[in-house]
């Protein structure tokens, strides 16, 4: 090992401490009680790493670095202050920024090093820019869909998978050629341009309900591309941060896929919506029982144990604060109220928890699917607000159902089920929900926010 100068030693030690702080940061995130300490550790690590880097003797010009740091801060602050409902698109956008950074650095590194790029270096460099550029456009597309600038409906056409895989195949083939002949720099733009196109094509067939999986997957790609950049720059810190991010994205993607009983390839190449549009049409008019806010309030007030199951519909209707009032009104009457949260509820992993925490609902009342499912048989009322497919018992019983095998919240095992829903229209997957026709189910037709508001008024009126 070559001897390091004094400054270099300081920089390397700063990086070493930063690495430890990053790992601690994620470790402390495991529990809500230590999580904020985790953010602090991450910030401190980042500060050390950046200050250390600025000491780097090779840096001859600081003007543009400082301007860029200031500009990035100016852009970053509003991105840190978006509404909680907009967190999924903000996250997608930040994956795009991360990928942009990696792709630009990779591109510059190639042109600075060409024509003598060692084989292994060219390989990781290709990986870096391919993953980076497809994540860049893919994340922008996902953000556009989530922000509803782009149509959320999956767009599919015949031979789509062949076109997409073909594009990726060509990019990989060009990368392979560059590894063999790194001096052929004129081909380099292809391994940036083709993945940019692939990123767009990859997201076009993906619908709103698949966004949690896709965001996680893009998160993983962003991490892996940063790790590849670490190999190119020989930065252990970057390799470790990228590996941590990649691992995190991968774990979340696997969780999301499992929660939908689908494989990765099925999410990416399946285009869920199209197969079932036909099934939605043949819905017959079966009788359902409905109830008024007064009746619903009376049943809830008489219950001992209530489980509320929120879905993305609750967030769309901005009903979370009314739900909090309902929680308060029932808790005051001595009713035990808990929330059952499906892993894919919302538009990204954990989204529903953040929305309910924002409405001041204590986190120990928010239980995930595995924790809550055993409770339903002892539950007096399961109140479903804006969720549909994640409560569909057909996933357990009907082998012909497109969602058969998907783990669901067993709300149908509660003594009474109440479902707040605007109309009898089918959910994202376009599948009819047999839950609505059970004799123990009461349909509460109306807008989630105003309906919950009416129930709260009824409960308040009876009490004071």
């Amino acid at each position: 090992m070559t001897n390091l100068t004094g400054t270099e030693q300081i920089i390397e030690i700063a990086y070493l401490i930063a690495t430890a702080l990053f790992i601690l940061s994620l470790k402390w995130l495991s529990s809500p009680t230590t999580a904020r300490r985790g953010v602090f550790a991450g910030e401190l690590g980042m500060l050390l790493a950046i200050v250390g880097t600025l000491l780097h003797h090779g840096i001859v010009e600081y003007k543009w670095i400082l301007i860029a740091l200031v500009l990035g801060t100016i852009i970053g602050v509003p991105l840190g202050e978006v509404a909680m409902t907009a967190v999924p698109q903000r996250t997608a956008l930040s994956h795009a920024f991360g990928a942009l950074c990696v792709t630009l650095v990779g591109t510059a590194e190639f042109y600075l090093r060409t024509p003598d790029v060692p084989r292994f270096m060219m390989g990781v460099l290709s990986l870096e820019v391919i993953l980076g550029s497809l994540t860049f456009t893919g994340s922008l597309m996902a953000a556009g869909k989530l922000q509803e600038i782009l149509p959320q409906r999956p767009i599919t056409y015949k031979g789509q998978n062949i076109v997409n895989l073909g594009l990726l195949g060509v990019a990989i083939a060009v990368a392979g050629m560059l590894v063999a002949h790194p001096e052929k720099a004129q081909f380099f733009p292809l391994i940036v341009g083709i993945p940019l196109l692939f990123g767009v094509m990859m997201i076009i067939p993906i619908g709103g309900a698949d966004m949690p999986t896709v965001i996680s997957l893009l998160n993983s790609y962003a991490g892996l591309s940063a790790a590849a950049m670490g190999f190119v720059l020989d930065s252990k810190l970057l390799i470790i941060a990228g590996a941590l991010d990649g691992a995190s994205g991968l774990i979340l993607s696997v969780n999301m896929s499992k929660a939908m009983n689908r494989s990765f390839s099925n999410v990416l190449f399946g285009a869920f919506g199209q197969e079932h549009t036909a099934a939605a049409g043949q819905q017959e008019a079966r009788p359902v029982r409905s109830a008024t806010p007064e009746e619903a309030a009376a049943i809830l007030a008489a219950a001992n144990k209530v489980v509320i199951v929120p879905g993305y519909g609750m967030a769309v209707a901005q009903a979370q604060h009314k739900v909090r009032e309902l929680y308060d009104a029932l808790t005051k009457r001595g009713v035990d109220v808990k929330f059952g949260i499906h892993p894919v509820a919302g538009r990204m992993p954990g989204h529903m928890n953040v929305l309910l925490a924002e409405a001041d609902i204590p986190y120990d009342k928010l239980l995930d699917m595995e924790e809550i499912n055993g409770d339903f048989p002892q539950t007096d009322v399961a109140l479903v607000i804006g969720a549909n497919d994640v409560t569909n018992p057909a996933a357990r019983t009907d082998a012909a159902s497109p969602i058969f095998g998907m783990p669901i919240l067993d709300v149908d095992k509660a003594r009474t089920v109440m479902v707040i829903k605007r109309s009898m229209a089918a959910g994202f997957a376009g599948i009819d929900n047999p839950l609505y026709y059970l004799s123990r189910t009461l349909m509460l037709f109306g807008d989630a926010r105003s309906f919950v508001g009416s129930i709260v008024r009824e409960l308040g009126g009876g009490h004071e």
Binding site: S25, L26, L29, S30, P32, R36, G42, I50, T53, G58, I59, V60, E61, I65, A68, L69, G72, T73, I75, G76, P78, L79, G80, S94, F97, G98, C101, V105, T107, A108, L112, P118, S216, A222, A226, A227, G230, F231, D234, S235, K236, L237, A241, G242, A243, L244, D245, G246, A247, S248, G249, N255, P349, G350, N353, V354, A357, P362, Y363, K365
Partner: protein
């Protein structure tokens, strides 16, 4: 393959294992803050961009400066925005109990 590349592969492998073990323990409750935090940490790529933009290059200096500067802007916005929103989210998670604001 050079020795330092092999060392880098070891580092990557060990970091991936640590990542899996540490992140598996994060409660589903905090999966959204987890993603925004890892995103901010991932923006450590800024160190590469800083060196790219600031170092002296015999040729391709303009390219390095322009791409490096844009890359710093992108990464910095992730660092600032990512930490800010993670902390904002985590502040909202409160346990039920006697202490009320």
């Amino acid at each position: 393959m050079k020795l330092d590349l092999l060392t880098s592969l070891y580092v990557f492998m060990l970091a991936a294992f640590i990542g899996f073990e540490v992140i598996r323990r994060v409660s589903p409750l905090l999966h959204t803050p987890l993603m925004s935090l890892t995103n901010a940490l991932d923006a450590i790529a800024v160190v590469g961009a800083i060196i790219l933009a600031g170092e002296h290059h015999a040729h391709g200096a303009m390219l390095a400066k322009v791409l490096g500067t844009i890359a710093i802007v992108a990464a910095t916005s992730n660092i600032v925005g990512g930490f800010l929103i993670t902390d904002r989210m985590l502040r909202m998670f409160k346990a039920s109990g006697p202490k009320k604001p």
